[in-house]
Amino acid sequence: MTPVSIRSLSKSFGQRKVLEEITLNISNGEIVGLIGPNGSGKTTLLRCIAGLLDPDKGDIYIDGRPRHQVDPEILARSLSYLPQSGEIHWDVTVQALVALGRLPHQGRWRALTDVDRQAVTRAMEACDILEFRHRPVEQLSGGERSRVLLARAMAGEPDVLLADEPISGLDPGHAIDVMDRLSHLAHSGKSVVVVMHDLTLAARYCDRLVLLHDTVIAAEGAAKDVLTADNLARCYGIRAFHGLAEKGLVIVPIARTNQGDVPVSGKPDGL
């Protein structure tokens, strides 16, 4: 069964249309990248799937059932959302923060069980944060903090993980670490939807890309079919260097389309 199915979804904020007639299916075991310029509706779509926004029109189905018919507490156990903001308000330890991911599995009064503790340990192992699990979160670097927040989202062992720009602000090494973990999660049978701006990493890690532009899906499919020079010019207004590296496409934005003749040809080192 398709874990997430979106049919003819539309959403406006006041007079401004953000999404129109979006239809999209997310399957088990795949990582789907939502890409598009700022304001193209990526976060809005993710928030609609997460239940933080109600669509004006259309339906979202989770495991075949309309999302609004699924009890939020049950939905929380199968779907986890990693917000863009990365808010952490109190200086808890890394382990305590990751354990918050088990809240949907706990009753109102029940403490963490051994099953919960094992899930928290697995999430910390997967994100390679076990060694500093007793450290307060305020003492973490940006990269460590991102991995801790990802571990929190993974601790609930959800079937669907929605991540909104999980690698924004990270250096390339940490960005690759986070994407590796998301990819590993997807290929263990879960579904991952990730909003991102780094087109090279999107091309490398995502099984499928969905390019949003002007309220609609402008292109969808494999990276080589979506990240064409034509689509980048039309949707982002950029010209980019396209290269082919060992592990996939390399896209380097070079200039705005209206900036005249900036050369974009060349070959990446080592090819």
Partner: protein, 336 residues
């Protein structure tokens, strides 16, 4: 997975807090203008004799100590709940207007002479005021889950209630009535009876119970509203419970003891790190801490000025205001 490491283990923390409450409670029973010999008192209790010591104990000290315990626990617990919900260490029970509107309700009972007609008019007026004030805050904040709207609505109600209280003081024909209102507003546990205990206890108990049900959502709010909502928590419901629980418990506490400030601000602050910064653990810890602090402050006012007893609200403000300034300065330092 090893259990979490804290500065002090949680069971030990609660044990220490419980001991502090018991010691402060016993001190509250034994300290006062008339000295009570505990052995004489025990003998009088078991023999059933109505000696002076047992009269003072049962009619004055015991209700006062029980009220101190309940009021302090309420202030500590609601302070922790509000700080957790608003994710702001400077929040306290007065922030949503409940203390000011409870005070206004009691002042109206004074002003129209109802307090002279029957003793319980004052606390009943306070509770009615608290209920109405919080209802207005709830309506003003509307369906928004934003803490900012909530705080602004609380500030509006607090300001309006304070203005009406000043108006009542201003218009009071009898200067003694104005003075009585002033003294009541300062907060005190003196001269309270078991009637006050029975009147406030059900509301305080129910309010605190409601607040304890939001412990888990408060933990989830550590990660912000979006994350908490996607973890299955209905934040609208959480806010309604917070308002309802605070109105019941703080409304009842203010109605019988007047406005005792700063306990709800200071106690959660002192205990936050010791509970590993976890809102769900801070709630019960702050209830214990609030009770211990209020009982200790109430003993202190009896010892500091035995002739003309200092009001407990004055003492907590004298200690709390510098502490508040310290918090502001520390936060400024952290931000810079």
């Amino acid at each position: 997975m090893r259990k979490e490491q804290y500065l002090i283990r949680i069971p030990i923390l609660f044990f220490v807090l419980a001991i502090a409450v018991i010691v402060a409670f016993l001190a509250s029973l034994l300290v006062g203008p008339a000295s009570i010999n505990p052995f004489e008192l025990l003998r009088a209790i078991f023999s059933g004799e109505a000696v002076t010591a047992s009269l003072i104990f049962f009619e004055i000290r015991l209700p006062r100590a029980i009220l101190g315990l309940m009021v302090g626990a309420t202030l500590g617990l609601t302070g922790a709940a509000l700080q957790g919900y608003l994710r702001n260490p400077l929040a306290e029970p007065g922030i949503i207007g409940v203390s000011a509107s409870a005070s206004l309700g009691a002042v109206i009972a004074f002003y129209f002479g109802l307090a002279g007609l029957f003793a319980l008019a004052l606390p009943l007026g306070g509770m009615l005021g608290a209920g109405l004030g919080v209802l207005v805050v709830h309506l003003l904040a509307g369906r928004s889950n934003s803490p900012l709207t909530f705080i602004l609505a609380g500030v509006a109600v607090t300001s309006f209630a304070a203005a009406l209280t000043s108006l009542a003081l201003n218009m009071a024909e009898n200067p003694f009535a104005a003075l009585e209102i002033m003294f009541w507003l300062m907060g005190s546990l003196a001269d309270r009876s078991f009637e006050h205990v029975w009147l406030s206890a059900p509301f305080i108990f129910l309010g605190c119970l409601v607040l304890m049900t939001i412990a888990r959502p408060l933990d989830a709010l550590t990660l912000g509203e979006d994350a908490a909502q996607t973890m299955g928590f209905n934040l609208g419901k959480v806010r309604r419970r917070l308002i309802f629980g605070t109105a019941l418990s703080v409304g009842a506490a203010t109605s019988v003891a007047g406005a005792i400030g700063f306990v709800g601000l200071v106690v959660p602050h002192l205990l936050r790190r010791l509970t590993g910064n976890r809102p769900s653990r801070l709630l019960p810890a702050s209830a214990f801490g609030g009770a211990a602090l209020t009982l200790t402050a109430d003993v202190a006012v009896r010892l500091l000025s035995p002739g003309r007893e200092l009001k407990i609200g004055v003492l907590t403000a004298l200690i709390g205001a510098p502490f508040f300034l310290y918090l502001v300065l520390r936060q400024r330092k952290e931000l810079s």
